[in-house]
């Protein structure tokens, strides 16, 4: 069983190499990607069962001994994260294939899409399995570099602008990670997590605190926790929809996983509990307030992503069995729901030509399936019963209530408020994008243009930081035209260019709708399996807080 552990890392890397070689054969590239991801899903499921029944699966890479080697550990948490990420990534891959991302006639360099995607998957898998801080660092670099490429795909001006911010922030966090590694090595002489778990307890308090702060800051940048979250809404919305979906589902959760791992394994009696709770509270509130202000659906979702990271940090900060279990359950829920929402918004973009709330309206009549696909995960995100969002939030809030301190109660209030405001934000989007009539939209657009000519000019110039369609500027022209002709009741068609005249391309090909529908169904299915999943999270959480299963498997040697 341990022999399966390196597969989620090896297979994507080999697949990426093979994919690069076969750059001229897109069909083979697609096949390789799908086969690799499917096999990772299978391996992750097997590892999960093995970790649940037998305890953490351990592999010392290369057969090196404990004192020298690098270890890969698949315990309950790691296997669960691996399974969820692999499944979600497979769905996103199917979606992007349906979108035809790799068959861009103009751009031959898109033969790098598949190799880069696979390297991203390899980095994520390695990050979940790493039992050594430097291995964690290398896997972070792998996935970050792949994400740089995917974010700036096509090299357009807006992507480059957003990509630059993203690259620089993440390079800074990588440098910070390196500095913290240097400090850890100088203080303890090792970088293996299991050894560190013992040696950090022997360090002077201020050194341990410094190490904890350095590592937490590094991972907080990657996880987009409040003071360090500004880069996410700036860069995520500009990427293509499947890329944003993968980032939202995987990259921030790797940061959260790293925080969870070091907090439970290395710093069990942490003096930073209050700091983390404050960070969670502020992340939740500031993120959701940002979401309310947005007029672009993708940006709004990026802000809700930041906000719900606050829930995850809440559970970690509580450091109780119930809190960590709540976090683990919520991570699974959030990966699925947020990715599903981004895929659905990609469908909206495809159908309506834009994701700006200024331009989109009346979609419910034109695409009722899309409306349903948006409504379900949106309600899930907002925490409406009986969905898994509700269950996860209740779990976390109960854990906070159990702790009982004033700050914990503030977190409960903040959590409920965030949930309400999330409901408000998604309902606003729902009402505008799906139910607004063209006449209402026309008036709103006019009012904006009157009050703020600069904004009107910007929007007509399509300089909105996200999707571009030259047709966008046509909408204002169409309005001018209609106004001139005295026609106040614009038909749907003129207003948001749903129909490309004479175009035979299906607006929402089944190959795009099916993966999105699959993820939406999966998010609903989480409600059904919530019982077993929460029980599993409880077991995983007890393992993490107890540390013994992890340490005994790694150190007394399931060596190969």
């Amino acid at each position: 069983m341990s022999a399966l552990i390196p597969l989620p890392v090896l297979l994507p890397i080999l697949g990426a190499g093979l994919s690069l070689v076969l750059g001229q054969h897109p069909r083979l590239q697609r096949l390789i990607s799908v086969v690799v991801l499917a096999s990772i899903v299978v391996v992750a499921a097997i590892l999960m069962v093995a970790a649940d029944t037998e305890g953490p699966q351990v592999l010392w890479v290369g057969g090196w001994t404990e004192t020298l080697g690098i270890v890969l550990v698949a315990d309950r948490l790691a296997a669960l994260m691996l399974l969820v990420s692999a499944t979600v990534t497979l769905a996103v891959l199917a979606y992007s294939l349906g979108q035809g991302m790799t068959e861009d006639e103009e751009n031959a360099t898109l033969s790098v899409y598949h190799p880069t995607f696979l390297v991203l998957v390899a980095g994520v898998a390695n990050a979940f399995l790493a039992g050594d801080l430097f291995n964690l660092f290398v896997s972070f670099e792998m996935l970050l570099f792949a994400s740089y490429v995917l974010l700036t795909l096509g090299g357009t001006a807006t992507r480059l602008r957003a990509g630059t911010i993203y690259v620089l922030v993440n390079l800074l966090s990588s440098t910070l990670f390196l500095i913290s590694l240097a400090v850890v090595y100088a203080a303890t002489g090792t970088l293996t997590l299991a050894h560190l778990a013992e040696r950090i307890a022997d360090l002077p308090d201020h050194v341990a605190l410094m190490i904890q702060l350095l590592l937490l800051t590094t991972f907080a940048i990657k996880a987009a926790v409040f003071p360090l979250s500004f880069w996410l809404p700036d860069s995520y919305p500009t990427a293509p929809a499947p890329v944003t979906a993968v980032f939202a589902g995987l990259l921030t959760k790797v940061g959260v996983y790293a925080i969870l791992r070091i907090q439970t394994l290395l710093f069990p009696d942490s003096p930073l509990t209050d700091l983390l709770m404050w960070a969670a509270l502020l992340t939740m509130l500031v993120g959701i307030l940002g979401a309310i202000a947005q007029s672009d659906i993708k940006r709004m979702l990026s802000f809700t992503l930041v906000s719900h990271i606050g829930y995850l940090v809440l559970g970690i900060a509580l450091a109780s069995s119930a809190g960590v279990a709540g976090t683990i359950f919520y991570v699974v829920h959030h990966i699925t729901v947020q990715t599903a929402l981004f895929l659905v918004v990609g469908l909206v973009e495809r159908r309506a030509g834009s994701t700006s709330l200024m331009r989109v309206g009346g979609l419910a009549r034109i695409a009722p399936l899309l409306a349903l696909l948006f409504f379900v995960p949106a309600m899930n995100l907002a925490g409406i019963p009986p969905f898994s969002g509700f269950i996860g939030k209740v779990g976390l809030l109960q854990a906070a209530q159990d702790q009982g301190s004033t700050l914990a109660w503030a977190l409960v209030v903040g959590g409920v408020l965030t949930s309400l405001l999330t409901l408000y934000a998604v309902t606003k989007t729902w009402a505008v994008a799906f139910w607004r009539t063209p006449a209402e939209a026309h008036e709103a657009l006019e009012e904006i243009a009157e009050r703020d000519p600069g904004y009107g000019a910007l929007s007509s110039a399509e300089h909105r930081g996200h999707v571009h369609t030259p047709r966008g500027s046509l909408s204002l022209a169409a309005i001018e035209e209609a106004r001139r002709l005295g026609d106040d009741d614009l038909p749907d068609r003129d207003f948001h260019q749903l129909i490309k005249d004479g175009d035979d391309t299906p607006h929402m090909p089944r190959s795009m709708v099916l993966p999105a529908a699959f993820l939406v169904t999966a998010s609903v299915a989480l409600t059904v399996v919530a019982g077993p999943l929460f029980a599993y999270s409880d077991r995983a959480s007890n393992d993490l807080l107890d540390r013994t299963p992890y340490l005994s498997s790694v150190l007394t040697g399931d060596e190969q």
């Binding site: 979108q99 035809g100 991302m101 751009n107 570099f145 490429v149 090299g155 357009t156 001006a157 807006t158 992507r159 480059l160 602008r161 630059t164 911010i165 690259v167 620089l168 390079l171 800074l172 440098t175 390196l178 500095i179 590694l181 090595y185 100088a186 500004f230 809404p233 700036d234 919305p237 293509p240 500031v286 307030l289 940002g290 309310i292 202000a293 007029s295 672009d296 940006r299 709330l357 989007t429 505008v432 209402e440 939209a441 008036e443 709103a444 006019e446 009012e447 904006i448 009050r451 703020d452 904004y455 910007l458 110039a461 300089h463 930081g465 996200h466 999707v467 571009h468 369609t469 047709r471």
Partner: protein, 177 residues
């Protein structure tokens, strides 16, 4: 207490300081130089963390026994970090060149959507999502203070807009609609 090489520490600190200073520049090329300097500073910090200098860590050579050898692990880590910095340099240079192709400069630009929202808030424009019916709800403008922290004092977002606009229409570089 071990003997620590003071020169290494001072040089590492100086490199990190200069690197941070350069990181705050507008031009991407300067930011890159700053990043590389920081990377080198951190590599030196690794060498400091590895303990005092010693002989080459090769078993069986004339280096003597293990206690006199230099610690090879930080050296391996520094090599990895150097390789990663190499890839970083290549990618950021490619981005800077592309930016120069598109914009004529390689400055790091601000978040335009954010600037647009701030301007909307400043001119007290209601969120258009409410439609024409409600003129009395200004709740969205209260989120201004947080968003003004996100970007440094944007010199002229309006000025940057037309330039990028024309270039957004460059055919063949659009994402697929």
């Amino acid at each position: 207490m071990n003997d620590i090489n003071l020169t290494l520490v001072v040089v590492s600190a100086a490199l990190l300081g200069c690197g941070v200073y350069l990181l705050l520049e507008r031009s991407l090329s300067r930011v890159l130089v700053g990043l590389v300097m920081m990377g080198n500073g951190v590599s030196l910090a690794f060498l400091v963390a590895g303990g005092p200098a010693g002989s080459a860590p090769i078993i069986g050579s004339e280096s003597g026994d293990a206690s006199e050898m230099a610690d090879p692990l930080p050296q391996a880590m520094v090599l990895t970090a150097i390789v990663i910095t190499l890839a970083t340099t290549a990618f950021v240079l490619a981005m800077a060149y592309r930016s120069w192709q598109l914009n004529g400069h390689d400055d790091v630009q601000d978040d335009v959507e954010d600037a647009a929202i701030r301007r909307m808030a400043a001119t007290d424009v209601t969120s258009e999502a409410y439609g024409a019916a409600s003129d009395d709800e200004d709740t969205d403008v209260s989120d201004d203070p947080r968003e003004s922290d996100e970007t440094p004092a944007a010199p002229e977002p309006g000025g940057a807009a037309p330039l990028a606009t024309a270039l957004d229409a460059v055919p063949g570089t659009e994402p697929r609609p």
